[in-house]
Amino acid sequence: MSSLTDQAPPGAAAPVADPPDKAGYTVVPTRHYARWAAAFAVLVLVAQFTHGLATNPVWEWEVFAAYFFSDTIVQAVWVTLQLTAYATVLGFLLGTLLAFMRLSRSPVLQTVAWTYIWIFRSIPMIVQLVFWFNLSALYEQLGVGIPFGPVFWSVDSNSLIGTIGAAVIGLTLHQAAYAAEIVRGGVLAVDSGQSEAAAALGIPRLRQIRRIVLPQAMRAILPTAGNEIIGLLKGTSVVYVMAIGELFYQVQVIYGRNGRVIPLLLVATAWYVVLTSLLSLAQYYVERHYARGADRTPPPTPLQRVRRLVLGMRAAAARPGPPTPVPLKPFGDRR
């Protein structure tokens, strides 16, 4: 039997002695050889790819440059933006309505909203778009009158809606089903004590939703909504099946004519990247707006970060001693 206290187990390190000089021990960091090797391999691959981008003649950068700001393309980007904007605004308006219908106490409203979401999430967007494109085959005339009774005013469905209208309707209805669930998720994430407190104060119902619940729900809604809007921006490319002159359709038209497939696809890609980046930036600032009150000190904006970094480096350069690292959080970390 060995005693637990007076005998160190075999292989245990010797007790720590005072360092030779009183300044302390020198710390030797671990060498991550595998990590360095992996980083080197990846950098080589990236270099190869970049080199290929620059030198492979198939990319035809001069064609890319010639078309990137051409009138046709800029016009097509504008159509893409319009489709995205309309479908986002209308989709989220309808989606918010559906979300509150699902959250309402009326079983009829709940069921209708649930059914809508069920159906429109089940239909592929492209199928739905083609349906709307062929609306006139389904309903030749649209009119206003008494349900199941006489019609007072009617119009040709094609002339009322048109191709762009059909695309906006299709995108909106599709988007609304997803937006409804996103908004509902956000509302459910708000503590029930909030609407209870608002009710106890006698704040009118609509005002409770607009002023108390929705602003807090936005914190949970925005990240997912950002995903959806970016998805929608790229999703508008599906509309090419309706021969609408948005970005992807126009690019196809041009390379159908001149055969420069790769550089024109690159033009579309670059524009989608630019637009998505702008949306991401906008999302950051909107999220920051709705985060007020949530953090004791609001996080700095990207601009403030850059300024702080530059100032920090300048200060470090001016100082004679060893440079002090600037405490900077990574971009994505908002806390």
Partner: protein
Amino acid sequence: MSEVMVDVHGVHKSFGPLHVLRGVDLRVRAGEVTVILGPSGSGKSTLLRTINHLEKVNRGWISIDGELIGYRRAGDKLYELKEKEVLKQRTHIGFVFQNFNLFPHLTVLENLVEAPVSALRRPRREAEDTARRLLDRVGLADKAGAYPRQLSGGQQQRVAIARALAVSPKVLLFDEPTSALDPELVGEVLDVIKDLARSGTTMVVVTHEIGFAREVADTVVFMDDGLIVEQGPPAAVLDAPQHERTRAFLSKVL
């Protein structure tokens, strides 16, 4: 004797099979402080929540200053009021929650201004002046621009009390106002409530603070198992309880 401000009459409340209130009668006179004590699950909070109609009663009725809450009486029938009318009635009743329930995305001042402006349609300037006066009264005049999360628990609850006062209610209801606070913060909140009591505000307070009940209450009500077991002046109920269940409860908490 002053008039009856809160009149609870034969109130029953069930949550499914759970019979939480089993015939409660309670009268609170204007300017008086009533403290409700009792073990958890005895129905104290539910009773408080029925008073401002956050919970509908299954039987009985409640009136504030002679006005029936949640219903309109015509002959021997009670007609349920629309939500809009109930919301209007609630502006006569201030409610302070255990978890404060301040609106975290609004500043302290906006928290106080919201209900007077949107529910009572008071001009914003006037509401802001009142709000600043109330903040001064609870000792937080310098926190008007702060967000609730920048305040301590005790400060948040004082803001919540000021917010409840902002609609100038006829009666204030407190649902365990100090239970979510660190012990050293309880005092500052109780001081504010005591100050209100001295100024003649009608209050019903559900609490576990026996010392507070002894000092401030005009009437102490002891509840157990959905019924009022005993009520009277603090000296009678706390020092010479008549009922066995009151004695058992007090021996545990004192």
